[in-house]
């Protein structure tokens, strides 16, 4: 059985990146937009782990970076959801189209 080549993994991560980008730009629900950002972060994680394992296996810099990204993504999601809950109390909606007090 031959190992999976690096390019296959990079295709997965690039696809995940663009799915996340597409979701962020098209979805109007704030929670879904937050999930789209998490998809992008996951594609970054895949990149780091794959590069580390295939190209630079003697050092663990990529894996460590991944651990930090996971932790910070959790912190970011916590603050973002707190902000969204507060916004829901003010606007009674979590649709970005409804939060349009400021324009131009």
């Amino acid at each position: 059985m031959s190992p999976i080549p690096l390019s296959h993994i990079l295709v997965v991560s690039a696809a995940l990146f663009f799915i996340g980008m597409y979701g962020l730009l098209t979805r109007r629900n704030m929670i879904t937009m937050l999930m789209a950002v998490e998809l992008i972060l996951n594609s970054v994680n895949i990149n780091f782990v794959a590069f580390n394992k295939y190209l630079y296996p003697d050092k663990l810099e990529g894996v460590f970076f991944t651990l930090f990204i996971i932790a910070i993504a959790a912190a970011e999601a916590a603050v973002a959801i707190a902000i969204i809950i507060n916004l829901y109390r003010n606007f009674h909606s979590i649709d970005v189209e409804d939060a349009d007090e400021m324009k131009f």
């Binding site: 937009m33 950002v37 992008i40 594609s43 810099e61 970076f65 910070i72 603050v79 003010n90």
Partner: protein, 470 residues
Amino acid sequence: MWVDIILSLRQELIVAVIIFLLLFIKIGAAAYRTEAMLHFINLLLLANLLLGFFQGGDATLFSGMFHTNRLIVLEKSMLNLATLIVSLQAYSWLKGHRQVLEFYMLLLSTLLGFFFMISSGNLLIFYLGLELSTIPLAALSSFDLEKRRSSEAAMKFILSSAFSSALLLFGISLLYGATGTLGFDTLAGRLDGSAFQLFAFIFILSGFAFKISAVPFHLWTADVYEGSPVTVTAYLSVVSKGAVFFIFILALYTVFKPLAGNWYKIVVLLSVLTMVTGNLFALRQDGLKRLLAFSSIAQSGFILAGITGSSRGGEASVIYFILVYIFSNLGAFGVVSFISAQTGRESVNDYRGLYATNPLLSWVMAISLFSLAGIPPTAGFFGKFFLLMAGAGKGNFVFIGIAALNMVISLYYYLRVIKAIFMDSQPEPIGKLKIPLLPKIAFLVCVAGIVMTGLVGGIYDYIYSLSKGF
């Protein structure tokens, strides 16, 4: 050994100690008088500024993760000074607020993040510092919890900053794949300008451009600046932007130096777009916060013009301009913040006839706006002059001509505010306001800073002697 580490990290340690002190006061103290607490915190911040000021030597800690030198210490002292001024100006707003301690904990966490970001010698520490500053900033912009605009601004800020960090991270991960290292010193040696590395660099540059609100990545700026409490807006526009510019110039001049031929064109394009768009949108604004938001976008364009110089003078002029910008922008935002906290009025038309009732506030506003516009006796003129001189070093005179023309356009909207204050009148002008001691000190520091940094020539020479150059 331990003494060396503590001395090199002293500015970070002092800020961390203050954060924990406030946390313990929050847990331990049952009730406190808000005004006494505000005076106490401002004293702590003053001590923080003074203790950080004395110069240490160069140091590299934690196997290259963290490094410091005299220029970085100076930059951190500038951020400390700006935070102190913001805190003094926040007095009249925070006096009626219940969560004073939480405000300062979040504010100082962002400052700590900026310190680590500026001193970083590794992309990991850079990212951690950036996030340590961004996440509390989003919470801060939602600090007026019951105001709809504040929560909308916070939502826009957290979503766009999460997206921009994700872009930055994607770029970093590709760069790691291309070079196999994350340290700044080893990274520069392994960049050769291949297509893959340029692709990664574009992502990283977009992440930076989001944070400094360069056009076309500026769309969040005006809304976040308008919706956040004015104090937070002042902090965002000065401390946050200044800190990101410090690390941006370090990254471009040292880490991405091998790609200089490529990034020069991109930064010139960003600079022109940022100046023109910022100025044109500022022309049509009636709200002062939004006007200052677009003016700060335009100022970013001028700073980018200085960065394109790629010389020792370029670095020195950017740092000097940020010092000037701290005083002039905080002077203008301080007046807006004070009047907004007292009367709730924030549009240009509300300021008509202000000179008749509040001469001191009018003069602070006028001097700050003259400095932002770059009128000769103020420091803003010298700041912009050095920036354009540095940019002109490359011989791209069409670009410098566009920048000079933009300075003329920007006069229109700055002078419109000054005309409203000094020449117009209205039936219900803003009443006579009594300025408490702390905001008054902040205003005087700003005006003194605007006048002195321009006239004392030694300041620019000192910054020039510290900067490393290209």
